[in-house]
Point group: C2
Chain length 308, copies 2
């Protein structure tokens, strides 16, 4: 068996956080004529795509390249405000990725454990409230019909995987691959946004509503997910020379327009997105013998493209 057939065999899942868009399946006529996901996206109207707001886009510059993070002020307004302040004041510049735990998270911030040695946070707030959930009323929400064990309802809110509980009228972001959150201590309100993590493994949904999610990696998650796993407890790097340096973490709005990363994201409230989700829920191409009839929130692809 050559690698070509396997390309077919495993072509049909798209990383939720990846910019790559392999072939996929859409609504069928006959099995042999199912359009690929690329064809589906190519045929979508321009209006089904959006660009990033540079004021809520964070660039994390690692040795291997730029990680692009879309911030979520709709769910974590105070954390995002602090992160914006920290970025503007160059807080992370010269700090490090200090942890990479397999099938879980990569985490970056200040490795200093003693307060006296810690990097000052400038004019950022030293204390923020927990922003684990918010009132659901007024939150845009495109619901998936699929069942979910972790929440009464799941779907997407302006590009972010999210969940909702109609009974309590609350909504929250979901810990899918590529989501970014703010580390905290035991106290619910002990995060300040200085130490951030990105999910690089099986969705740890048990963290939902237990920690504040602040955004999502929309490009470059593979720069974090391949980092050597730390050999200390919880995947922390044990030696300073293992730390991965952060050259800078900068808001896109503070970068000259010509140096920004141009991206277009498929709107999660678009018809094309609904078609993409259904094409993944029920694969109709000839490789799949048994369409699942289901999709998990964290298996839904979130297409990103570089404009031509």
């Amino acid at each position: 068996m050559s690698c070509k057939p396997l390309a077919v065999a495993l072509a049909l899942t798209l990383s939720a956080a990846s910019g790559a868009l392999p072939a996929g399946a859409a609504e069928p006529t006959t099995p042999a004529k199912v359009p690929s996901m690329q064809e589906l996206l190519d045929a979508s109207p321009k209006s089904d795509w959006r660009t990033l707001d540079p004021d809520r886009t964070l660039y994390l510059q690692l040795p291997a390249g730029r990680v692009v993070i879309e911030l979520a002020p709709g769910f974590a307004p105070q954390h995002v405000a602090n992160i914006r302040t920290l970025a503007k004041e160059h807080y992370w510049d010269g700090l490090f990725v200090i942890r990479s735990q397999d099938n879980y998270v990569a985490q970056w911030g200040d490795p200093a454990e003693e307060d006296a040695k810690k990097k000052p946070i400038g004019s950022a707030k030293p204390k923020l409230p927990a922003e684990f959930e918010r009132k659901a009323t007024g939150v845009p929400f495109v619901r998936l019909p699929d069942s979910d064990g972790w929440a009464p309802e799941v779907g997407f809110s302006e590009g972010f995987p999210a969940a909702r509980d109609p009974k309590s009228d609350t909504a929250w972001l979901a810990h899918c691959y590529g989501m970014v959150g703010a580390g905290r201590d035991v106290a619910a309100d002990s995060s300040d946004g200085t130490s951030l993590y990105a999910v690089t493994g099986q969705s740890p949904r048990m963290l939902d509503r237990n920690i504040t999610l602040v955004g999502r990696v929309v490009q470059g998650i593979e720069l974090l997910s391949v980092l050597p796993r730390g050999t200390g407890p919880l995947g922390f790097y044990e030696k300073p020379e293992q730390y991965v340096p952060i050259a800078a973490a900068t808001l896109a709005s503070d970068v000259p327009a010509a140096e920004r990363t141009p991206l277009e994201l498929l709107r999660t409230d678009s018809k094309t997105f609904a078609t993409v989700v259904e094409s993944r829920r029920n694969r109709r191409d000839e490789w799949y013998k048994r369409p699942a009839g289901h999709i998990d929130l964290c298996n839904v692809p979130l297409p990103v493209r570089t404009p031509k």
Copy 2:
């Protein structure tokens, strides 16, 4: 905020395929006195643990170390038989990991696409039946009470994440992190076990019952999950110099006893395992503010330890 608090914050998820056992929570008395997962495991009887059968353990030797795979002849007898033949005849020795797709799979085998250049498979069978599922009757199955969107019932079968449909009396292995499968072409019966993949991202459960799973990585998945992502379509490496060489793939039974990797795996039909699962379904330690009341099949830790 130091990295210590974050250690607490994110200590409480265990990679399902990792040998690491960070602190966790078990059944509580008072929140402050919840035993850690390590304490729970340390207190478990020896009889709750099993060792690997060397005849169905495959060692994949990569430059960074040894990946230990437990094969699943109960679900894929013909594929496992072929894999054993291929290993005994040194089929993979000198071949490569040829693909690493972010949030999906790493895949190894013969990079040759043309039949004339392909490595001969010796006395292995060139054609195997699809082994996507089997009759459920007679299959050991410890069921999880938790709902699952992909299958009527989910649980564990002798250490493997699995699913079951009582109506059709079928059972199958589930595509969780670290699971290993046999790549195939469009035809359901086109896999021969020469090209294998390991799941290194969000569980691609849509593949369940569409491709033959042959086992699970029980140690060393991080040697595969950190491999540089291929930049070709589907994460294939584009240049031969990017291939990751396989020094050897060998059955543990063909390795001298002193050179085997001694491991103990927590029995999934043990009382300790049930306690571990419940401790993860409802976190009772003081860090968690809202126990989920649910656990996904692919978030259940499968503890592995090196005997002292």
